[in-house]
């Protein structure tokens, strides 16, 4: 049996109370949302918080709505709720592409968006999706609210800029006209982490690419994105030639490491090919 080390447990009844509990315990407390990343890590003793602050009852952090040309997703929203959201599916197909291949339906029922992002696993899918979409993370602390671009949210593998005593409360995703998006993932078996994956967001002005966002999963791309490939695409005519070259650029700037999911050159190949495929599909959807 897998048993975590000793831990205290407190249940928060409001965001303010959660923040108060978190800051009282300093860096040794962790918020417990769905727990589907944290609890496995605790059972393996890779995480050993002294206090769990249970925020799973904070319904005020569970919502999906549209305001100011943004999709706003509460951090406690379950994966299944995001996958069920019609507005997310219509306006941001990249989000539904990714959600369909995150773990399995049972895990998606209880695992949360905020929990996935704060786990900051380099193979986690939504990090690349939100980087491609240039989303914004809303973080609350005792001192108030601050916003951080998705591309600055991660401080490294399993590390984010959310400080002890703070809570990720919302994701804001821009809804842009004339835009298509897609996410392409290769996994060893259904529900597994990515061998590699790529997300693409294309905004068109006629036949030209007005703006592009590319997110990369599990290939060591800094901040889960490919700015060199995005820069190449901007202003260029949308089409196969541009998409293929952008894929190659994205692969050149990625830094995959060999592991049980595959060797480095294979992952680099996937980074190129999946970027191209995602761009192709995003273009079809724009």
């Amino acid at each position: 049996m897998q048993v975590p080390t000793h831990v205290e447990y407190e249940r928060a009844s409001s965001v303010d109370e959660a923040l108060e509990m978190l800051s009282r315990a300093g860096g040794e407390a962790r918020p417990l949302a769905g727990g589907h990343s944290l609890i496995p890590m605790m059972k393996l003793r890779l995480a050993q918080p002294e206090l769990l602050v249970d925020i799973s009852g904070l319904t005020e952090l569970s919502y999906i709505n549209v305001a100011d040309a943004e999709l706003r997703v509460g951090a406690l929203t379950r994966h299944a709720q995001l996958l069920d959201s019609a507005v997310a599916g219509e306006r941001l197909p990249i989000v539904h592409d990714a959600e369909r291949v995150i773990a399995d339906p049972i895990v998606r029922n209880w695992g949360t968006i905020g929990g996935s992002l704060c786990q900051a696993d380099p193979s986690e899918d939504l990090s690349a999706v939100l980087a491609a979409l240039r989303a914004t993370a809303v973080i609350r602390g005792a001192g108030g609210v601050r916003t951080v671009p998705a591309r600055e949210f991660h401080a490294g593998p399993y590390e984010t800029v959310v400080e002890p005593g703070e809570l990720l409360v919302e994701l804001r995703i821009p809804l842009t006209a004339n835009t298509g998006s897609a996410y392409e993932k290769v996994e060893r078996r259904v529900g597994d982490w990515s061998v590699a994956a790529a997300g693409a967001v294309l905004t068109l002005a006629g036949e030209l690419i007005e703006d592009a966002g590319i997110g990369l999963t599990a290939v060591g791309a800094p901040h889960f994105c490919a700015p060199e490939a995005e820069e190449f695409l901007r202003g260029r005519r949308a089409g196969e030639e541009a998409f293929t070259t952008a894929g190659q650029i994205a692969a050149e700037h990625s830094n995959p490491v060999a592991d049980q999911r595959g060797p480095e050159d294979y992952k680099r190949h996937l980074a190129a090919e999946l970027t191209t495929r995602a761009l192709r599909k995003a273009f079809e959807r724009a």
């Binding site: 080390t5 447990y9 496995p40 009852g57 399995d104 895990v107 259904v190």
Partner: protein, 162 residues
């Protein structure tokens, strides 16, 4: 700590629950409900699947405190008074059980799938829907063919489910 929750329709209280304990441990070791199985403990295999406020979850990854004052239905709750539910009956008839370790989780997950589809007056789930719904329930014996047969059989018999 003390955790009070509703399990299979009855209010139950577990005492001396340790803060890091899972809902699965509470069900199996404190409330004498061993139907939900303890296998991977990492949310990979689905053998501990229970309904938590009507939603299938991995009980191994829900902290005991998180289940407080919520409604839990385990596989035992799908066979009240010891009579098999329609999904259980179909698994039996289709021979969808070998070692049986994954079966309780599958029964709970299939119950949920059919409650949302055929049992709600909607068309029965197609094979792709069934495969997707069961993607988180691993069976290492059957090769899944008989499990799919069982789901189709149960779906064909269900006008309406509770």
């Amino acid at each position: 700590m003390r955790v009070t929750l509703t399990v299979n329709g009855s209010q139950r209280t577990a005492d001396d629950v340790w803060e890091g304990e899972s809902l699965l441990f509470v069900l199996r070791e404190r409330l004498a409900l061993p139907g939900s199985k303890n296998a991977c403990e990492q949310g990979e295999c689905g053998s501990c699947t229970v309904l938590l406020d009507d939603v299938p979850v991995c009980a191994c990854l829900v902290a005991a405190g998180q289940a407080a004052h919520r409604r839990v239905v385990t596989v035992e709750g799908l066979a009240p008074r010891g009579e098999l539910g329609p999904v259980q009956q179909a698994f039996l008839e289709a021979g969808a059980v070998q070692c049986g370790f994954c079966t309780p989780g599958l029964i709970v997950q299939v119950h949920d799938l059919l409650r949302r589809t055929a049992g709600a007056g909607l068309p029965p789930p197609g094979d792709a829907d069934i495969r997707e719904a069961l993607a988180g329930n691993l069976c290492r014996c059957t090769g899944y063919e008989k499990i799919l047969d069982a789901v189709r059989l149960a779906a064909s018999r269900l006008p309406v489910m509770p």
